[in-house]
């Protein structure tokens, strides 16, 4: 399993149009095909760098803009283990956990492109193996963690018939 960090040239306010352009979200319904076009408008061929298990690293307000669920779907289909950012836009945040994509919230200034990372959700630690430092991550809210563990909100809803257990 690969575990490299990938950074785009832009760091903050990466919107869902950049994650997957409106041109493709309408046209392509196959998730793997969609994954071949992530970040195409901001950095050509970015998708080719990502191997299963890798991390995408960004700054503030990741996933702002359009509510398109194709954005987290395409990121998940690209094989990413998790997105690591300082903060997230709210619609994207819900969408990601709803479809079982892990989002990690922490300081990302000290993660460089191609650093090797290891995520420990039990200890709430992101290990930067290349730099030999442990980064504390904000605990994932209980409700989101449950969705993540079950593979998404649909699986959770089907099993529990609603959300009464988590409120």
């Amino acid at each position: 399993m690969s575990n490299y960090a990938h950074r785009l040239k832009i760091s903050n306010d990466i919107n869902t149009d950049y994650i997957i352009s409106g041109r493709y979200k309408f046209k392509i319904q196959d998730e793997k095909e969609l994954a071949k076009h992530i970040f195409e408008d901001v950095e050509e061929d970015f998708h080719k760098r990502i191997k299963p298990g890798d991390f995408l690293v960004a700054g503030e307000n990741f996933g702002c803009g359009s509510s398109r669920e194709q954005a987290p779907i395409a990121l998940k289909a690209s094989g990413l283990r998790a997105v690591v950012a300082k903060s997230y836009a709210r619609i994207f945040y819900r969408n990601a956990f709803n479809i079982g994509l892990c989002l990690v919230e922490c300081e990302t200034n000290y993660i460089d492109d191609m650093d090797e990372l290891d995520l420990d959700l039990e200890q709430n630690i992101l290990k930067n193996l290349s730099k030999g430092v442990n980064i504390e991550i904000k605990p994932i809210p209980r409700i989101m963690r449950k969705f993540l563990d079950m593979g998404g909100v649909i699986e959770y809803f089907k099993e529990h018939g609603g959300f009464d257990d988590i409120v």
């Binding site: 149009d17 046209k27 307000n61 702002c64 509510s67 619609i91 709803n98 909100v153 609603g162 988590i166």
Partner: protein
């Protein structure tokens, strides 16, 4: 007591006293999707294993983003939406009816005090009519469709007070662009925004929609306004259900209060490639523009078309400039026809699209070429938004758009305001 509008609406819909930070399960009054998001709503709904939508009168789909279809892939999605709508016997607004954020309130599905979920980020638009409406992903709408409920985190609220009297030639679009420039693209993240002040009171309901529409551009969950006589008169004309106006308590707890005096505001421009990159028009005058788009869920309403038509009347758009006008709904289109605005646009050299999202989403009806600059009345100027990552998008009011269309470069609409007054 001590509750904001969002806390009150979520309390009323969850049966629990909701305070900022709480998680509640709340009943949804209405939900919908558009053609870019409904394919996944349908897939998710099927995966949930539920046979019928919880209430066929509380869900609708609007085909607006790529309508009529520009390619085979989109046509397949549209066909899937039509089939599902028929099977479930839910109301479908097919091509040419207009943008969801105009049609949904115009058709009466939203009223004061409602909780509305839409699979489109600009669902926050109906905050202008005192509804807590918010954009979510497709799967969250599917969940609501299955049982009429979803879970909500109760947001903190920022109170924005816009006082003063706006100068001539300055509009609600300028007000909200200025506020977004000030607060920033994530300055209201996860929060509700309540808008107050003389400026809001003076605006028509059309102009207020423009403000609430863009609340998401500063990260907000919703952009709420209190209901006044204008709101209630508007709802009397449109709404299918009785309004339940919700006011914040006088001692409501706000995360922050921001006060602005808008008396000296100048027309504002959001420059490439972020919505919070806002500058006064003086700094941008003379920027060459290749395409002007007037329309969208932000500024495609009758009042917007009227403002543009007054400036364009009897004049011609600049040589080589493409002016594209897209009314936000069929009703607006027909009203604009009756009032002669459409004739003014066509005589001036504009292309008038069918009602819908027009070129805003970059799939059709005005895709930009490499190196082109567009000035649009839309709400997003992200790189690639209008279909080409090698083009630039500037955002402004319909008045600035019309003035710019005449000159072929970013131009000050206040000169026209003086001419016309």
């Amino acid at each position: 007591m001590r509750q904001t509008i969002a806390e009150k609406i979520l309390s009323e819909h969850s049966g629990k006293r909701a305070r900022a930070g709480d998680i509640v399960i709340a009943n949804v009054d209405f939900c919908f999707g558009q053609d870019g998001t409904s394919g996944i709503i349908i897939d998710s709904f099927r995966k949930l294993g539920v046979e019928n939508v919880f209430d066929k009168d509380r869900f609708s789909i609007v085909i607006d983003h790529s309508a009529p279809s520009p390619n085979i892939g989109v046509s397949a999605i549209h066909a899937k939406i039509r089939k599902f709508s028929q099977e479930q016997d839910v109301r479908l607004f097919d091509i040419g009816q207009g943008v969801c954020h105009q049609i949904i309130p115009e058709s009466g599905y939203v009223t004061c005090g409602d909780l509305v979920l839409g699979a489109d980020s600009h669902t926050c638009t109906y905050g202008a009519i005192n509804a807590l409406s918010t954009g979510v992903g497709s799967t969250d709408v599917a969940i609501a469709l299955a049982g009429g409920k979803n879970w909500f985190k109760v947001p903190e609220t920022i109170k924005v007070v816009a006082d003063g009297e706006l100068p001539k030639g300055v509009y609600s679009k300028d007000v909200i662009l200025y506020i977004i420039g000030n607060i920033g693209a994530d300055g209201a993240s996860y929060r509700s925004v309540e808008f107050y002040g003389d400026v809001i009171d003076d605006f028509s309901v059309d102009a207020r929609f423009t403000i609430s529409n863009m609340a998401v551009e500063m990260g907000a969950k919703c952009g709420l306004m209190a209901a006044d006589k204008k709101t209630l008169a508007w709802l009397k004309k449109h709404a299918l259900r009785e309004p339940r106006p919700v006011e914040a308590d006088e001692d409501a707890k706000y995360a922050e209060t921001l006060e602005y005096d808008m008396s000296e505001l100048v027309p504002q421009i959001a420059c490439p490639h972020t919505v919070d990159n806002v500058h006064g028009i003086d700094e941008m005058l003379g920027t060459p523009i290749d395409e002007v788009s007037i329309g969208t869920c932000t500024n495609g309403r009758l009042e917007d078309l009227e403002i543009a038509a007054r400036i364009l009347k009897g004049r011609k758009v600049a040589h080589g400039l493409k002016l594209i006008v897209t009314p936000a709904s069929k009703r607006i289109y027909l009203d604009a026809l009756k009032k002669g605005y459409i004739e003014i646009f066509v005589e001036a050299g504009a292309v008038v699209n069918n009602p819908g999202c027009g070129p805003c989403v970059g799939t059709h009806q005005g895709v930009l070429a490499d190196g082109e600059n567009a000035l649009s009345t839309a709400n997003r100027n992200f790189k690639g938004r209008m279909g080409n990552p090698n083009a630039n998008i500037y955002l402004a009011s319909p008045a600035t758009a019309a003035a710019t269309a005449l000159e072929g470069e970013i131009s000050d609409p206040r000169e026209h305001s003086r001419r016309l007054s």
